[in-house]
């Protein structure tokens, strides 16, 4: 079990406190062009109020009509989380007044969500394959996003932009199964990866297409769950971890000073890494949920569900296990499957005929190294999977050595030329021609007579020096095995 994380504790003056974390992730369904209940566009960054229909603006007499693709993407997401898909679900109204909510209610799903229980497996210690832990998913429901308020444009007014209003969200509600900021971070990264594999959400937290409401409570080990607070709309993994850390400490201090935690909505301040009670939502909440009378119950048939299931891609865990089955190390396998783009590129490399073990090592060590140096993502990568496969092939069939391969790769990155061509042009082919190698060895030994004497006198470690000198003399093209054999013969 996850000892590393399970042992995460807040040290208080009265002893150790356990942290209990649950996350409500709002993931925008970025796979659709139009909104959940209207035909307005969802693209990010448009001019204020240009992607707003009369329905989104809640004009009198306007009515919602659900977008089939939003339902489809939410169902595919639920399937990817091994969740129960409810054949019969329904939309409810969540009633409250706010300037970013034109209808005066959000159309959501409280009583009968589209997706029921599922789970996500995380590594509580991402370096350690053995630290797996299952985090329960309680439900996924589909709902409308709200508009955006701008407070800094005018001294006494806030400005309302409804472009986001009505955009489809999946609210993915976890069980309070996380026990540390690290687990919450792992959960979020894993969820994000799955959403991106499925394609329902681009996971772009900067643009707000993934936000987390962070529910935190603390308790002495073995005690009942404590009172939780909900910190709203935290928009990065790091911030979520900070928010948990700060909120847990705040609650512990409060409790140890004899105070009590009040169930409230809080805001995270990225600048200070702290949370504070939300002023605008202070007055008692009573959302008065009831079934939306403008919409009928949503019933899904088997054909629809079959298509959703059939359209799912290979998911990170399955892919990782498949890679391990190909002899790829667990570490490389998890690195290669962490991001959908990497996995896609790597699968193409394998399809181009590269040997899995060698290819994995090369991508993780050489390719990632080069991309980091050049500050490029896998998609900006100038080397195509086919070109990479050609290079790896030359190493595999001993046409070039690993050392030469590094040079060739650098030349490929700069010139875009193919590996074989480079090797040809620059005469980098590896040679096992004993005649040529013997000749160079003789030169090296002659030029280093006294070292030869020391070696023969027992200074064995000098052997490497002779190998190096010979390789150097042959610009690295000599087959190292042959050089070794010939040297031993001549020195014995």
């Amino acid at each position: 079990m996850a000892d590393a994380a399970a042992s995460y504790r807040i040290k208080g003056t009265t002893g150790d406190w356990e942290v209990v974390v649950g996350l409500e992730v709002h993931a925008q369904i970025t796979a659709t062009a139009s909104k959940l209940f209207s035909g307005a566009a969802t693209a990010f960054g448009a001019e204020p109020n240009t992607q707003v229909s009369l329905v989104d603006a809640a004009m009198p007499g306007m009515l919602p009509v659900p977008n089939k693709e939003c339902i489809r993407q939410a169902v595919r997401t639920g399937m990817a989380l091994d969740a129960v898909i409810n054949r019969w679900s329904r939309f409810d109204r969540k009633n409250y007044f706010y300037a970013d909510l034109p209808q005066g209610y959000q159309i959501s799903q409280l009583y009968h969500p589209l997706v029921g229980e599922g789970e996500i497996e995380i590594l509580t210690d991402e370096k350690d394959e053995s630290t797996t832990k299952r985090i329960g998913i309680e439900r996924i429901h589909v709902e409308q996003d709200a508009g955006k308020l701008m407070h800094d444009q005018h001294p006494t007014m806030s400005y309302v932009d409804l472009n986001r209003c009505g955009v489809a969200l999946m609210e993915i509600v976890s069980r309070p199964d996380m026990r540390s900021p690290a687990e919450a971070g792992a959960y979020l990264r894993k969820l994000r990866a799955i959403l991106r594999y499925v394609g329902s959400c681009d996971g772009n937290m900067e643009e707000g297409s993934m936000r987390a409401d962070v529910n935190v409570s603390v308790r002495k080990a073995g005690d009942e769950l404590g009172t939780r607070t909900e910190t709203k709309n935290v928009n990065s993994v790091r911030f979520v971890m900070q928010a948990i850390e700060h909120e847990a400490r705040r609650q512990v201090e409060l409790l140890e000073e004899g105070g009590r935690v009040i169930q409230e909505t809080r805001l995270f301040d990225p600048d200070t890494g702290t949370t504070r009670a939300m002023r605008s939502k202070e007055e008692a909440h009573d959302y008065r949920y009831f079934p939306d009378p403008d919409l009928l119950p949503l019933e899904l048939d088997e054909a629809f569900l079959d298509e959703c299931r059939a359209s799912l891609p290979e998911l990170p865990d399955t892919k990782r296990k498949r890679y391990e089955g190909l002899g790829i190390t667990p570490y490389n396998a998890s690195v290669l499957t962490a991001e959908v783009e990497t996995a896609r590129w790597f699968d193409a490399l394998l399809d181009a005929g590269a040997e899995p073990k060698q290819a994995a090592n090369w991508v993780v060590a050489e390719l990632f190294g080069a991309l980091n140096r050049r500050g490029e993502t896998i998609d900006q990568n100038p080397i195509s999977p086919a070109q990479a496969a050609e290079l790896l092939g030359l190493v595999a069939d001993a046409t070039i050595s690993g050392t030469i391969a590094k040079q060739v790769f650098e030349i490929m990155l700069d010139s875009g030329e193919g590996a074989a061509a480079i090797v040809e042009k620059r005469g980098l082919k590896q040679t096992s021609d004993t005649g040529a190698i013997d000749a160079e060895i003789d030169k090296v030994l002659a030029a280093n007579a006294e070292k030869v004497a020391e070696y023969r006198a027992g200074k064995q470690q000098l052997f490497g020096f002779f190998v190096g000198q010979t390789m150097k003399a042959m610009a690295g093209t000599a087959n190292p095995q042959v050089v070794n054999e010939r040297l031993r013969a001549k020195l014995s």
């Binding site: 004009m59 009198p60 009633n95 209610y105 008065r288 009831f290 403008d294």
Partner: protein
């Protein structure tokens, strides 16, 4: 040509087609009648130019031949329907000056059918009322008066302006909406016909929402045939309304027949309630005889949960309304009053914008949905509603339509009914059909001893507007109701 305002829609349509008169003459006659009847307060906005423009199109089209069904017919439109560029206020201060940039599906259908608009019709605020007294524009005065009295009477509500306009000859036909009797009760009070079709027949898109699961648009006119003509133009599938029925619109007018051979008319014993004037029950008995005479066989039926319909309605309708009316917050349209911050602005705007009855229903609706009460009130009401629907389903196994009185009384005086509960009782006969989404119609049956109209109420099976209209026609032919209010305005 003042005689034009006494003609039915069918007569206007046919007379215009054969060239007896022009559409312009019709529009002018009605524009004149509207302008001359402002004391009735039936119209909140007059749009004579709109009626004339449609007439001009019709006259041109007639010259060139093919004419849409309502060419040359000017109509009054209830202020609940969004009409592009024309004030649409639902009879409320909170929407004062609101000019939608869109046209409701129903009125767009009517325009496509060639109809012109005479103006917007007064109504109870957000259709919440049974006497038109809750309108921000003040009450509509019924053209009817009790014999030998000039006490101002209500035309009923919420479609009170619509009812008054038709009975006073200020429009040959009008749109109404019916959530719990708002077409049928005013039709009965003013001696005209009005039908609420099956829920989902008329699109709700562009109709200011009161209670979404109950709201239905329908026509009000002088005759059953005119109602059939208008309903055919108003109804139809609309992809913009998720509850719209994806079914073809039957040729109701062509299939009109007052021959009811083989039809069984259900007479629900639970509708014989105390406190209903004897003459209303006598009219009901006469109605039974008229339908028997038309070939139908009366059968007694039971709708056991009838007595619970009103309380069920007064939980569900306010609950939906409290949510539907949350959008009137002073941010995007309508009235804005300033207060302390955003919440202060909301509270001040809604305090100033809503009238007493609307506030009352928002308060009730907010309460029955609030934490701790939702199950006991709202869920319970939806269960009883299911039982009421089931009552009808069972009853229709032994009958093809149902006959009842439309309202428990004739029109009452403005200001006479002050207690909310006794006002709600006006819809005791109308509400069950609304809760079940069934087609229902009121047709004039006769006058009471004060000389005021009384209506008979026909309830049909889901989607069976035809039988309702046919029975309405049978009653119309036998009742011989020709009374019109004496012109005093």
């Amino acid at each position: 040509m003042s005689g034009l305002v006494d003609k039915t829609i069918a007569e206007l349509r046919d007379g215009f087609r054969v060239g007896e008169f022009t559409a312009r003459e019709v529009a002018e006659a009605y524009n004149g009648a509207v302008a001359a009847a402002r004391t009735l307060n039936a119209y909140t906005v007059e749009t004579p130019e709109d009626a004339l423009a449609a007439a001009e199109t019709a006259d041109k089209a007639r010259a060139s031949g093919d004419l849409p069904p309502l060419a040359g017919i000017p109509l009054g439109i209830k202020d609940l329907f969004a009409t592009r560029g024309v004030d649409t206020t639902a009879g409320s201060n909170i929407l004062k000056g609101f000019k939608p940039r869109y046209e409701s599906t129903v009125t767009a259908n009517l325009r496509r059918a060639g109809a012109g608009m005479l103006g917007k019709l007064n109504m109870d605020e957000f259709a919440m009322g049974s006497s038109n007294e809750t309108s921000a524009y003040g009450p509509v005065i019924s053209p009817w008066r009790r014999k030998g009295s000039n006490v101002a009477l209500t035309p009923g509500g919420s479609s009170g302006g619509s009812a008054a306009a038709v009975s006073a000859g200020l429009a040959p036909g009008v749109t109404g909406t019916d959530t719990g009797g708002s077409i049928r009760q005013p039709a009965a009070f003013t001696g005209i016909a009005g039908i609420k079709p099956t829920y989902g027949r008329c699109s709700r898109w562009g109709i200011v929402a009161f209670a979404s699961s109950l709201d239905q648009a329908g026509p009000m006119a002088r005759t059953v045939r005119d109602c059939a003509i208008l309903l055919e133009a108003m109804a139809g599938f609309d992809a913009k309304d998720s509850t719209s029925l994806d079914l073809p619109v039957p040729p109701w007018e062509r299939n009109l027949s007052s021959n009811l051979n083989g039809k069984r008319v259900g007479i629900p014993k639970e509708y014989r309630i105390d406190g209903v004037p004897a003459e209303i029950n006598r009219l009901w008995d006469r109605g039974i005889e008229w339908l028997r005479d038309a070939g139908a066989a009366p059968v007694e039926i039971s709708l056991p949960h009838t007595g619970y319909a009103l309380p069920t309605y007064y939980i569900i309708a306010p609950a939906e309304a409290s949510s539907n009316l949350a959008r009137y917050d002073g941010v995007r349209y309508g009235l804005r009053e300033t207060g302390d911050g955003l919440n202060g602005m909301y509270a001040a705007t809604r305090e100033a914008g809503f009238g007493a009855e609307v506030k009352r229903r928002i308060m009730i609706g907010t309460y029955v949905l609030s934490a701790g009460f939702y199950e006991a009130y709202f869920t319970k009401a939806q269960k009883v509603r299911a039982l009421i629907k089931q009552d009808f389903r069972k009853a229709f196994e032994s009958c093809d339509l149902i006959l009842t009185p439309t309202a428990p009384s004739a029109a009452f005086g403005i200001g006479e009914t002050t207690d909310p509960l006794s006002m709600y009782l006006n819809d005791v006969f109308a509400v069950p059909a609304s809760l079940a989404g069934l087609p229902a119609m009121s047709v004039p049956g006769g006058l009471d001893e004060d000389g005021l109209p009384l209506g008979l109420h026909l309830i049909g099976k889901e989607l069976d507007e035809q039988t309702v209209l046919n029975a309405g026609l049978a009653i119309e032919e036998r009742a011989g109701f020709t009374a019109r209010p004496e012109k005093w305005w």
